[in-house]
Symmetry: C2
Subunit: 306 residues, 2 copies
């Protein structure tokens, strides 16, 4: 019933409809349909993180399909798990939505969550649907460290190299295009559906990364979190940042939601493909950017968070 | 700054303010402040569940304090974990709220979450705050089965006893009093702050419970989920239901949000304090209620879910 609304299907009908589209994996001991899911945690620890996406703040239903929102909501959480050096195993999803929401939107969301999670072998294991006059999608990701120590934001040491896995600024550039009325192209796609470098999180952990952080609020801002937690200065060199067609330096430094990974590693560490050195850890505090005015604007999604 | 708003404090200021109020436990290897938390999963499995509470649907800010909402949001999730036969270890919390939200409301919510979680030894390990014109609280709970098999909804067998841990109908009766303009008393307290029998979930699992389910949507409705998953008829006897002053049979059968636990156990199992036999599992399907019209209304929170 592609034209039905959530209200017409009812809460449990909607859940059945969505659950039927989800897959499973060997890590799922008990999936959707009970009071809670049960997931393996092979090394005796579990990584867990939550992100909330709000219609009008993190996405617009006229700019992104439900499928895109599902991909993006999953990506934000899967990248947080990768930033600890872990691999995500499971997602739980809370959907608050109006009764008028088309069922096709909910199933599109589920498909997007499923397909993004599948990139790392994770599956949706549970969730909740409730009534709300605005669409709010909350996603929790669980992950497996596979015996690794978690890579926190707090271990960067003076002399370490600062490295970047993935690129920044594409989502912000794509948003600017959408705001200017242009609705197609690779940057717009990058805004709708970020492509975090999931596998590089565990890879950097295995290379001895001393600190790591997901870039969700902008490179300078998130590098600042890493600098503050580690008690160091991160000196970035704008000339070393990956160049992307259509992305200016402001967007590369301040644009959020690409979910690249910024990390620190011992100086001279050989880097895997997709990771580049972008600076050096120094004694001090904060973030400096060689070759750029350090007063770069920070990322504010569509409007200022809370 | 008790009079400040969330917007005045900013997202990270608000998070710092809230995190400072939270505790920790031996199960928390890495708490709030990084990309993700790390929690022990001692038996190599983790139980996980998510519930979303929406202002105007699950609570009203003029009827419940922030502290009450925190208690209730935690309780809904902790009870789901208990219904698997597990003990909760950690909560993750997503808060979507307007910028005008008083900081005191957010800290009250955090205090309520902390104190309810403390009843089972769990702590808040992470979360997210985002801007939204309505207050939406999403909570994910993680739990530890301590070597037990999970108690699903699917194992009830004809001949088993149906048992109830805790009581039902108090929250619905309290809501009716609030709707009638009465704002005090034990039933109103039960609506604002349910008191699930957390320890009885693992206790029933240890007694060999064949199926178990949290009563969040009403006894008849949730018993129906258990009956459907198990492929049996649950015959409840209204004369056996715990009597509570001010709670009529309709409320006891259909009222939601008390988070009692309904379970099935081998006939004649000696029951711990707080658990009573309320019926029998029969071959068949659905739920019948001896001594009551089976067309009892179902629980609809304030308005129909999605």
């Amino acid at each position: 019933m592609p034209d039905a609304t959530a209200r017409e299907l009812g809460e449990f009908g909607l859940i059945d409809h969505v659950v039927a589209r989800l897959g499973t994996s060997a890590a799922v001991l008990l999936g959707p349909g009970d009071d809670a899911a049960v997931v393996t945690a092979p090394d005796g620890r579990v990584v867990a993180t939550t992100d909330v996406l709000v219609e009008g703040v993190h996405f617009r239903r006229d700019w992104s399909t439900a499928y895109d929102v599902g991909r993006k909501a999953a990506a934000a959480n899967l990248a947080d798990v990768a930033a600890m050096g872990a691999t995500a195993t499971a997602l739980l999803v809370g959907l608050a939505a109006p009764g008028e929401l088309p069922v096709a939107w909910a199933t599109g969301l589920a498909d997007g969550l499923r397909d993004e999670a599948a990139l790392v072998g994770a599956v949706v294991v549970g969730g909740d649907t409730v009534s709300c006059d605005r669409v709010v999608v909350s996603v929790t990701a669980l992950g497996d460290l596979a015996g690794r120590p978690p890579v926190t934001r707090a271990g960067a040491r003076p002399g370490d190299d600062v490295v970047l896995a993935g690129t920044t600024g594409r989502s912000a550039a794509g948003l600017a295009l959408l705001q200017a009325g242009q609705g197609a192209g690779p940057l717009v796609d990058a805004h709708r559906r970020p492509t975090p470098p999931y596998a590089l999180g565990p890879a950097l952990a295995d290379l001895g990364a001393t600190a790591m952080c997901d870039v969700s609020d902008g490179l300078v801002q998130d590098a600042g979190h890493l600098a503050a937690a580690s008690g160091v200065l991160l000196e970035l060199d704008s000339a070393l940042l990956p160049r992307v067609d259509g992305v200016d330096l402001d967007a590369a430094l301040a644009g959020g939601e690409d979910h690249a990974l910024v990390a620190t590693v011992a100086a001279g560490t050989a880097l895997p493909a997709g990771v580049v050195r972008i600076g050096t850890v120094r004694p001090g505090s904060g973030v400096s950017v060689l070759g750029h005015d350090p007063g770069a604007r920070s990322w504010e999604h569509f409007c200022r968070p809370v």
